[in-house]
Amino acid sequence: MSEQHIITADLIEVFITSRGGIYQSDVENCLYLNFSGKTSRLSFSSLNDLKKIIDKVDLGHMCTLIEHADIEIILIKDNCFVLSGLEIIYLKEILDGAFAMFGLNHIITDCLDRLVMS
């Protein structure tokens, strides 16, 4: 379902790497995660949930599993991510970058909001 969404001109690039990226739509108040050949449409809180899960994945433990080794399945609302250990590292990089940008954007917006308009 999410594959049907096409990245359109109103999308703002939040953070990209050579492996994928996150874009924001101010029109739809949502985010698009472009990763491993798939585009997922996520609300801010879903993306936040995804980050929390990715941050908790124990990569060391994942690598030592004998059965179903090196695979993590993550369900967020309508989206399902099946990720290898390497993909988790790549996705983590994208998410960390995007959240750093969200933080920065928040600081800037906050400063602008506080300016006394004359």
Partner: protein, 175 residues
């Protein structure tokens, strides 16, 4: 670019996490007090058992107050897992020593959240927390007074009986 993070919630990730930790601490307090009520009851200290049942309810209310605040501000509150509840004490006095220790720990924990609110200039949460700071004044006062009864009344003779009868009378009356 819209600040979607701020649109979603008034709380920063860090403050939301600290408040959720506090929810857990209040739940833990509530359970400990319940356990203390059980110990007092089965050792014949009815007055103290009543006192701890009431304290346990209060802690549960504190927990819900924070829990709902997180939700009201657009955050995600997490229902905590409560484990490691002590259920035996060697003396009547030790129960009250633990009660005071626990209240001190809770006060310190609130101070930590307040410090973070100052750092982030989250004056909204700061104002919400004022109620708890005030509440901690009373909680510590009562716990300290209860423990002092062991000195004032003494533990000899019918001391324990007197202490137990007076625990419920401790009131904090300051504004």
């Amino acid at each position: 670019m819209k600040d979607l993070m701020r649109i979603k919630s008034l709380l920063s990730t860090e403050i939301e996490a600290l408040l959720n930790q506090q929810v857990k601490k209040e739940a833990h307090s509530s359970s400990i007090y319940l356990s203390m009520a059980s110990w007092c009851d089965r050792n014949g200290f009815d007055g103290s058992a009543d006192f701890f049942f009431k304290q346990s309810n209060e802690e549960r209310e504190h927990q819900l107050k924070i829990y709902k605040y997180i939700l009201d501000m657009g955050g995600t509150s997490v229902s905590p897992e409560v484990t490691n509840i002590k259920n035996d004490w060697s003396t009547f006095r030790e129960v009250f020593e633990d009660a005071l220790d626990q209240e001190i720990a809770i006060t310190q924990s609130f101070k930590n959240i307040v410090a973070r609110c100052h750092k982030e200039q989250d004056y909204v949460t700061l104002e919400f927390l004022n109620w708890f700071l005030r509440e901690q004044r009373e909680e510590e006062y009562v716990a300290r007074r209860a423990l002092e009864l062991f000195e004032v009344i003494g533990e000899q003779g019918t001391g324990y009986w007197d202490i137990d009868k007076n625990i419920g009378n401790i009131k904090y009356s300051a504004e």
